[in-house]
């Protein structure tokens, strides 16, 4: 006990322990510290001169006290704090120690000494409260004590989200939570694929596969329910969802939408029961986004009224075709129709692939796509046709047919329009996929947010470790994504409604909405799951916590049913023409007329008052949000139009003009979609009557609006629509909303109603 005896031998030291130890706590003495201490010690009259040299040895920057001595000091300080009645400054500790170690005569005059020590403390910039935390327990902070405090009823919120679909949603959940739906090891490829097929068969048996087919063919006649099924299934295994979608959505719906009664009668019942597994064979190796360029041919032979389906070269093989590698028995094949050597463009044909025993038909070759990043429960394949003959009746002839004279006929005279009308019937896929992707994002958020609420790491000096969801960065990473999930939920309900109630006149707008929401939502899924993975740290990387498979499985969502970047260009073209024109492909001549019109649009002047307005009331005002989103939508489309017109007027080739404006057009698409999403969220808040739900949704809507504006602040500042102090105030408000919503975050993810067995993440405790 060399050190303790040191204090006893040199009791004056006891008075300096708090200051010295605090100063050494970062392992260095600064020049200022040495200077202040030395000055005080040298001039202090109460210190015995003989003691001064000893004291000065303790503040030699080159020679710190030994670890054991520092430990001894710390123990003395802690004992003092435990025993003393009032500790507000370091000098209070000194006072206590003085009484313990100094002769009575000195300690009686200690109030003067204490004043001097307080001055030293102040000169060193020490904040007493902070210094004392080093030695105490139970340091509580606002950050530590923030916690979940549900401000609404979870059941009611779930009801609001499910709406009139709660019955079918509950039915699906009752199925996918059965023991036979327990997740399987996805690394055993064959077993996984067979399991996924079995799951699909169970759903077919329950009548869910045929939900969208007409009742007279054994279906449910309920397309709305079909979307809800896709969405709810997506809380479970995503290979399962995609396999389900390929069979009933793509294969079945292509027969329903592109075929006529004879096809419906022949196929739909069997498809709905999964007695006839099939494929949707559109994409080829060389042509994906540019479907018009596919090269498979269907050559008509009028003599025996047959088509010859043929793959002219290996890069024209059908690629990535779901259900092809193993289970598909037939396929809807898109091919260029050739009659008398004339090309009549892309049409659809039903082509057999395998007999019921699984043997490939003559002329059909199929290769397995092999392992993929994800979705390995789906058997994707490459299909090649070598002069496969099919009867005339197997042309899907709703939009084009061959008459008795062997001539091409179509109710739609324009080749372009016919092609895009055919594609347009498949727009349902661009609704199903984002709804599935959003479910995956919701699951990711449920895992990351609940984990963030449980996981504690770091904390104030002497205090408890803090739930990581209380940290600002963590909130900033997850809360805006939670708001996005709610926003997109309502936006996808809206596009579903529009699609189900479509008329010929608004198809262009519906297609643009579906394309844009597909792109926006699936990108949001990718970025949400990335944040969720990182927010769960190493736990997020373990397969047992499911974020890995959610990420890997949905990664392709940004590509299939249309590459997102290409889709956003299409949305932009639609927006430029105010959806009056053929959306998918429009030749430049037509487009240029619209562009000229748009370029004339003048955008309302900025209001110099609101440019600078930063009151909380204004920043949270829905009218401000709507105005900002509308302004951006209109201003970007107008400037893109002006830019295109300028290029064309300067003689630039229109294709080049479109290319140099691609990035601008991309923003046109985004601005439009963001505006629509906000509008739908606002409408939802308006029509919600229950006050706690309304208040919660309103806050989420505010966060959605402001975090989008923050994301786009560079643009708003460039435009002069807001000034710098306003965008800074918006950032602060986003922080505040994140902080407030954090309290409701756990209940908000519970409201998604994801069955616990589907979430399936081992890290989560009950909460």
């Amino acid at each position: 006990m060399a050190n303790l005896s040191s204090i006893k031998q040199h009791p004056t030291l006891s008075v300096f322990l708090p200051l010295f130890h605090t100063a050494w706590s970062d392992a260095n003495l600064s020049e200022l510290e040495v200077k202040e201490f030395t000055k005080y010690i040298k001039q202090a009259k109460w210190i015995d001169k003989a003691e001064k040299p000893h004291l000065l040895t303790k503040i030699n920057a080159e020679n710190p006290p030994a670890a054991s001595e520092l430990h001894q000091w710390e123990r003395e300080i802690k004992l003092a704090i435990a025993d003393a009645t009032k500790i507000e400054k370091l000098s209070d500790i000194s006072l206590f120690l003085a009484k313990k170690y100094l002769p009575d005569d000195l300690s009686s005059s200690f109030s003067n000494i204490k004043n001097d020590l307080d001055k030293v403390e102040k000169n060193l910039g020490i904040i007493s409260k902070e210094a004392i935390y080093l030695y105490t327990q139970g340091h509580d902070t606002i950050t530590t004590s923030h916690k979940t405090q549900s401000s609404f009823d979870i059941g009611q919120m779930q009801e609001l989200l499910d709406g009139d679909q709660s019955e079918i949603i509950e039915k699906v959940k009752s199925i996918i939570t059965r023991p036979e739906f327990e997740y399987v090891d996805s690394s055993n490829l064959n077993a996984y694929r067979e399991q996924v097929l079995k799951w699909c068969k169970i759903l077919a048996k329950e009548g869910l596969g045929a939900m969208a087919f007409p009742k007279k063919y054994g279906g449910g006649g309920d397309m709305k329910a079909y979307f809800s099924i896709m969405e709810t299934l997506s809380f479970h295994d995503l290979s399962f969802v995609i396999k389900f979608g390929v069979q009933f959505g793509l294969w079945g719906m292509s027969i329903q939408s592109l075929g006529t009664e004879k096809h419906h009668k022949k196929y739909l019942r069997k498809i709905g029961k999964l007695q006839l597994p099939g494929c949707f064979a559109m994409t080829e190796t060389n042509h994906g986004s540019n479907v018009k360029g596919i090269e498979t041919t269907a050559t008509y032979n009028h003599e025996n009224k047959t088509f010859i389906i043929h793959t002219p070269h290996p890069l024209a093989r059908k690629e990535y075709i779901g259900n092809a590698a193993l289970h598909g028995r037939m396929a809807t094949v898109f091919a260029k129709l050739i009659i008398d050597e004339k090309d009549y463009g892309v049409n659809a044909f039903v082509v057999p692939l395998r007999n019921p025993k699984g043997k490939l038909h003559q002329g059909v070759s199929i290769e397995d796509c092999g392992l993929k990043m994800g979705l390995n429960g789906v058997d994707n394949g490459l299909i090649s046709f070598d002069h496969v003959e099919i009867p005339l009746a197997d042309m899907l002839d709703k939009y084009a047919s061959i008459n008795e004279n062997g001539k091409f006929e179509s109710p739609i005279s324009s080749d372009n329009r016919r092609f895009f009308t055919m594609l347009g019937t498949l727009v349902g896929g661009r609704i199903g996929i984002p709804r599935s992707g959003l479910s995956a994002a919701k699951t990711g958020l449920a895992i990351a947010i609940r984990y963030g609420n449980q996981r504690r790491q770091f904390g104030p000096e002497g205090g408890e470790e803090v739930p990581i969801l209380n940290y600002r960065m963590h909130q900033r990473r997850l809360m805006p994504l939670l708001a996005n999930a709610y926003a997109l939920h309502f936006a996808l309900q809206y596009i579903t409604f529009r699609f189900l109630n479509r008329t010929k006149d608004d198809m262009q707008e519906i297609e643009a909405l579906a394309a844009g929401l597909k792109a926006f939502t699936t990108w949001n899924t990718t970025s949400t799951l990335q944040e969720c993975r990182e927010a769960c740290g190493g736990k997020g990387y373990l397969s047992e916590n499911r974020i890995g498979s959610l990420k890997a499985d949905t990664d392709i969502y940004t590509t299939f049913e249309g590459d997102n970047t290409v889709l956003m260009q299409l949305v932009a073209k639609g927006r430029l023409t105010t959806f009056k024109k053929e959306f998918g492909e429009m030749n430049m001549i037509t487009l240029l007329n619209y562009i000229a019109d748009q370029a004339k649009t003048s955008i309302k002047e900025k209001n110099p008052f609101t440019v600078r307005k930063t009151t909380d009331e204004h920043l949270l005002d829905v009218e401000f949000h709507l105005s900002a989103f509308h302004y951006r939508d209109r201003a970007i489309v107008s400037s893109a139009a002006k830019r295109l017109k300028r290029h064309i007027d300067n003689g630039m080739d229109s294709f080049d003009a479109m290319n140099v404006s691609q990035h601008h057009l991309f923003n046109v698409g985004n601005a439009y979609i963001e505006r629509v999403i906000l509008e739908q969220f606002v409408l939802q808040v308006e029509k919600t009557t229950e006050p706690t739900l309304k208040a919660t949704l309103k806050k989420l809507c505010q966060l959605f609006a402001l975090s989008q504006i923050e994301k786009n602040r560079g643009w708003y500042l460039e435009q002069g629509y807001m000034n710098g102090s306003k965008t800074k105030a918006i950032r602060k408000m986003v922080n505040q909303l994140c902080w407030e919503i954090r309290q409701d975050a756990v209940p908000l993810v519970h409201s998604f109603g994801i069955p616990e067995s589907c979430i399936g993440a081992k890290i989560l405790r009950e909460d």
Copy 2:
């Protein structure tokens, strides 16, 4: 041939075919089109009155011509274009058709008619050139013809990148391109793990594992080469790299850095030969980022001079420990040292796990972490100790030891400083990981850029399909990431150099640099590989093209060796103290003094001239770039300090103050790191002498600088450092640089020198 006879019966129609067909090409007639056509037909004197009603039937918006008739028109137009000598306007086609079908008397007066038709064309806003593309072949555009044109020598660039490490790099490549390094099926978990171990053994045999160990223990004594090995290996399988890094970097280097000669002698030779596989057991389930909080105990018993290593509860198990599930025989275990019931903080101990036959030692339990998102060739495990006894000699005692009296001793008296000094010796991992991550990003870029150069999709009307790398959006997605890869290459060489030449005085700065570059680089890897996956579409999703495994394997890089978000906070703290203080943990009292200093810093006034300056010369000027990055770095740190000080002055608890400023501090870290990266890139450009290399690197450096400024433009605009017209000009310049660099993009990825067998992507042709 009903239609052809229709033209013969009504030859006047022939004159209108080009205009009518063009108008119908988008499947709709607009009101304007109907009006213009009708007006002209009604007043045209040359048209026989009897013909007019027939002509008007062809422009009835409600009743379009049949598909077969439109096809007939199109054929007539194409024949005309093929036969006519000069076609500049649609009326030139009309002229040709008039000569073919109209009576001679009419065609002689056709020049007047042609003038009238030109007026109609103009009124409709038709751009003749564009209209004619609908019917012609060979439409060439600037976008179409842009292509790879290497402006430098690939070999020379590769030499520049490899520098003085080319010998070891070539040696590693000569090994990993051997047939036995062919990639294996990663879905067969056991076989994969064993294969990875075999690969590591081959490297050990070649002397590469021990490269960084002292020569006297069989090592190469060359830490620089060790980093180059990690980097080059990362062109191959990443599980292999991580397993290699665990064995030789973490396990071996912990013995080397934390142990003393007795440990070196006993273990290093065996570790270097991989005769003694081992682990680095630091992280626990409940404590990852907050390592100081780990709960495993090492209780000293002075009687028999042993430690008891113990896991007090399941959440204190060592988790994610590489090499633990199968192969590790010993581990460096971090545990709280307890002597006489007093806690002396975290120390390191060598603990045996398995005997040479693989049987677990008494008291050691290990559980497999199971499948992970990636890196499944590494056998991560959970380790639990139940009162495992080890001898005193197996404490790694470089920084702390127990003396003959059973007392704790250390050359570093501060517990904090000792702890962070220990951690500091492991900073090499924070250099190895980003260098590995960058290699993975380079491989992704090589795949996506070469594929983008090959893949053609869409094209101008009547022209060839265009390589997708010629599209602006595609360039914008990939070129800035290519510039980042080059920028980070030089930045990581710089931190390596600083680390290898470190002194005690600059360790804080080096640790901050390593932490920040680790975070910046690994996030850049994640986002680069995400873009690369999407840029390759469906092909990117197939495992055979490797992006999937690169993405999945590197996803954890943002978490391990320190969570990136936490690391950026540490960088910020270091930056606030200008790296003068203990970087890892610093108590608030110390920090506050520095903050007060920083808050006083006044940032140079903006120059009102350069705020608005948008000349190309200025935008490309390196001085402008450096000033902007420096300004941002200084201004953000100063405003963060002011903000913290304001909160503290207002009485906010310091922990809360740090929390509400987290996002701000995050930006402090980023701004600092971005500035360092730019500086190093600029230095590299300056010292490059060969003119073509210099010019190419300069352009990449400009793109790096401007794309970072563009990313941060919201901030620059808020600050008033630039105005809106300048940030717009910067965006335009980024576009231009992307366009120019696209020409060199393929040679630039070839210059990375990645062996073709390592890239291993089936989609790539030779190029």
